[in-house]
């Protein structure tokens, strides 16, 4: 795993040109100052309460996601290409979702086997034939991108349900500006602080057609959800209400919230709750987090849900291999961003290849998320590989496999000093009247040496992400 692309250095102590100024600055800083700034950052994050709840911890303990002060820097040309690729990809995914829940042209042409969609757990038959406002399904998308090999970008995953992490993009920037204002004077760093404005604009434009001045709310499962900080943060930054299911009710297929002055109509719900929990009358009946009758109001077109119900069918790992074809099919364009070559274990020959090469591959559950339920072949013991083999054999269509990518690495502060650690990037793509992206994203870093798993639930940290302007 030692052969990877280093984001900062082209060779031993040769900084890449867009890291030149930063490298010089870093070499001028006394180690003691950096240590002091890191402690300061931790104290501020704690006081501000930028924490996440630990799954399975009933004591309500809160943890900080480790923040690394060495930024991930992307130069203007690379960003331009990434941005064009992201817009293209998310546009195609939205067209795909609209198609799947209406005429299903892409299935009729045979480009995707119909059973792959119709038997998919993430496909929602209840959404079939339902028109959603502006035919937009994934208003907010978080696309995971990695760099591998000699530095090419690959899309690792499209997150079209309730992608999180954007608050860290914003807070990390605030932190860096607070800790190192001089760095911002030295660089032309594209600002990201207007993201909540873009988001509000996107959500308002997604309102049902006949609404003039739509009321937008953020729906959260509550303060013990691991991403609660982000829900509260975004609601506050947009100046809209943060609601829980119990704050809302449906009367005559219209959604209202309970206020101190009576009820008030709600037009757009930015929901941070999975499909399953939205409406106990239609989905999981044991859900106390949702709103009874919400789905009926939604079908009548009286309220917009962002993201739409049923987007999971487009970001499922078993559908991922078809995204380049979707781009060609709906947009008649060649994909700008690469997919990672993927073996679908449901196919006989792919399964055989996967089983023969488990020690080299990364195997993922098609519905898995958060870095759980995956096998990183090169980092696993014989026993782990063997037990995973049994799991694949028991349910081949539940798995895909990909070559283990040599993820790029970025210098990072660790206990022993500065060392390269693997990173990824999650930019956030907003689809309203047009498609918009704040110049940046969340860079996650695997803090363990050699680790390729960047998820915060697996001990990952984050970095500020700089897009340099020309």
């Amino acid at each position: 795993m030692s052969d990877f692309f280093n984001e900062m250095y082209a060779g031993p102590s040769v900084a890449r040109s867009h890291y030149g100024d930063f490298d010089r600055w870093l070499s001028e800083q006394p180690a003691q100052l950096i240590e002091q700034k890191r402690a300061e950052a931790e104290l501020i994050f704690r006081r501000v309460g930028i924490t996440f709840a630990v799954t399975g911890d009933n004591e309500g303990n809160e943890r900080l996601i480790p923040f690394d002060i060495i930024p991930r820097i992307i130069c203007a040309d690379e960003w331009a290409r990434l941005k064009a690729g992201l817009i293209q990809r998310v546009t195609a995914l939205n067209l795909f979702l609209n198609d799947i829940y209406h005429e299903q042209h892409i299935l009729k042409t045979g480009l995707i086997p119909p059973e792959q969609i119709l038997n998919n757990e993430q496909y929602r038959p209840k959404m079939q034939g339902i028109d959603v406002a502006q035919s937009t399904y994934a208003h907010i998308a978080g696309v995971d991108i990695v760099r591998a090999g000699a530095g090419e970008f690959y899309v690792l995953e499209d997150n079209l349900r309730v992608p999180s992490g954007v608050s860290y993009m914003l807070e990390n920037r605030k932190m860096m500006m607070r800790l190192f204002p001089d760095l911002f004077a030295r660089h032309r760093i594209a600002p990201v602080a207007h993201y909540p404005d873009l988001l509000l604009d996107t959500l308002r434009s997604a309102a049902p057609d006949d609404i003039d001045n739509p009321t937008v709310v953020v729906l959260t499962p509550g303060m013990y959800n691991s991403a609660y900080f982000e829900h509260a943060f975004l609601a506050q930054q947009m100046g809209v209400h943060l609601v829980q299911g119990s704050d809302l009710f449906v009367d005559n297929d219209v959604v209202y919230m309970r206020t101190t002055r009576g009820s008030e109509r709600v037009d757009v719900i930015y929901r941070r709750l999975d499909d399953d929990y939205l409406d106990p009358l239609e989905f999981r009946s044991d859900s106390t987090l949702g709103v009874p009758g919400l789905f009926a109001a939604y079908c009548k077109g009286n309220v917009t849900l962002a993201n739409a119900i049923g987007t999971g069918v487009a970001d499922d790992k078993s559908i991922y291999p078809y995204v380049p074809d979707m781009i060609r099919f709906y947009l008649s364009e060649e994909p700008i961003l690469n997919n990672v070559p993927t073996y679908q274990c449901r196919k006989k020959e792919d399964l055989a290849y996967t089983l023969d090469h488990l020690a080299e591959l990364v195997v993922k559950e098609v519905h898995g998320a958060g870095g759980y339920g995956m096998l990183v072949g090169p980092a696993s013991s014989r026993a782990e590989i063997d037990s995973f083999r049994q799991r694949i054999l028991a349910k081949p269509d539940g798995y895909i496999a990909q070559p283990t990518l040599a993820l790029s690495a970025c210098p990072t502060y660790v206990a022993q000093g500065i060392a390269p650690r693997h990173i990824d990037l999650r930019p956030f793509v907003l689809s309203g009247k047009s498609v918009a992206i704040a110049p940046g994203g969340l860079t996650r870093v695997a803090l363990k040496e050699g680790s390729l798993v960047v998820n915060s639930s697996q001990g990952g940290g984050t970095k500020d992400t700089w897009i340099l302007e020309k």
Binding site: R47, M223, D247
Partner: protein
């Protein structure tokens, strides 16, 4: 605003105020216990402390002996005691966290930092090694919380519901302190008779509500129980008096008026008028204890009405009678 948001703000303020008042009472009791007196007197004063919060039966379920350390432990750290300072500060912070988007950054960070600091103080055992300093810290965090609310919050409904929580809780707490202290002074145990003991007894009560200097300023005379009661009940310019608190409730209720709140407004206003038109002599005729008990019932009803009109409705039957938030 959302009813649930108003509810969280209201309870955030109530719990902050309750923590402050508990710290005040404990601090004064601690100071009092340094005076020359019999062991049973000291014991009685700690028992009175528990009675104020209607917690004696809960205390004796957990502790054998009525000692200073046990009571402080129970009233400061005990997570099973919903009125302990730690429970109150935790509840205040949880409520703030639930609506952090409706608070200014400064208000939220103040609540959060109080809670974080509390963990450190409890870990280092400050409430045992230097309880006075600990109580002082609690009081000043409450001052800070109030100050940062005044200094940074928009004067809208959020602010009104925070103030309503503060005033209602303070009215309740002041009435409880008065009731217990007056009962103890005239009760079977250690009735305060000689004038020197009387001075220290009432001076301590005044100090517990930051009213010692104010008393001197207002009356320029020796301390008598009747005047103490008058000051803490009927003086509108005394910020912790019953009438000042009820006045605060009336004013804030007006600002948040809705279609159903008229009768609650009238109820609060009649409470205010009653206090305004009575005198300490008239109250003494009825009996201070009877009067305060009725006042506490009225405050409890006011809280229920507020919840029903604006917030998340409370369950009407609550044990112990100290109001608490529906979880």
């Amino acid at each position: 605003m959302l009813s649930s948001t108003a509810d969280h703000l209201f309870w955030m303020a109530r719990y902050t105020e309750r923590a402050e008042n508990t710290a005040r009472m404990l601090d004064v009791n601690l100071e009092n216990s340094l005076m020359p007196q019999s062991d049973s007197d000291i014991e009685q004063s700690w028992l009175a402390q528990l009675k104020i919060s209607e917690l004696e039966q809960y205390f004796f379920k957990k502790y054998d002996a009525l000692t200073q350390q046990n009571v402080i432990d129970f009233m400061v750290v005990d997570p099973d005691n919903p009125s302990s300072i730690a429970s109150c500060l935790k509840a205040a912070r949880e409520n703030a966290r639930a609506v952090r988007g409706s608070l200014t950054t400064e208000v939220w960070e103040t609540e959060n930092f109080t809670w974080l600091n509390l963990q450190q103080h409890l870990k280092s055992g400050l409430h045992k090694t230097n309880p006075s300093q600990f109580f002082e810290w609690v009081k000043f965090r409450s001052h800070l919380s109030r100050g940062v609310t005044f200094g940074t919050m928009l004067r809208d409904e959020s602010f009104n519901f925070i103030r309503l929580g503060t005033f209602l809780e303070r009215a309740d707490n002041t009435a409880r302190i008065l009731d217990v202290k007056f009962l103890a002074a005239h009760g079977e145990h250690g009735a305060v008779t000689d004038s020197q003991a009387e001075f220290y007894y009432w001076a301590a009560l005044l100090r517990s509500v930051s009213a010692f200097e104010i008393y001197r300023k207002v009356y320029r005379d020796v301390i008598t129980p009747a005047r103490v009661a008058e000051l803490l009940m009927l003086r509108t310019n005394m910020p912790r008096s019953l009438i000042a608190c009820v006045q605060g409730v009336v004013g804030n209720l007006q600002d948040v008026r809705n279609d159903v709140s008229l009768s609650t407004e009238q109820f609060a206003h009649s409470l205010f008028l009653e206090l305004e038109q009575t005198s300490i002599e008239a109250i003494q005729k009825i009996g201070l204890h009877a009067y305060l008990i009725r006042f506490l019932e009225n405050i409890n009803e006011l809280g229920l009405r507020l919840s029903n009109d604006f917030l998340v409705p409370m369950a009407p039957e609550i044990t112990p009678k100290v109001s608490s938030q529906l979880q």
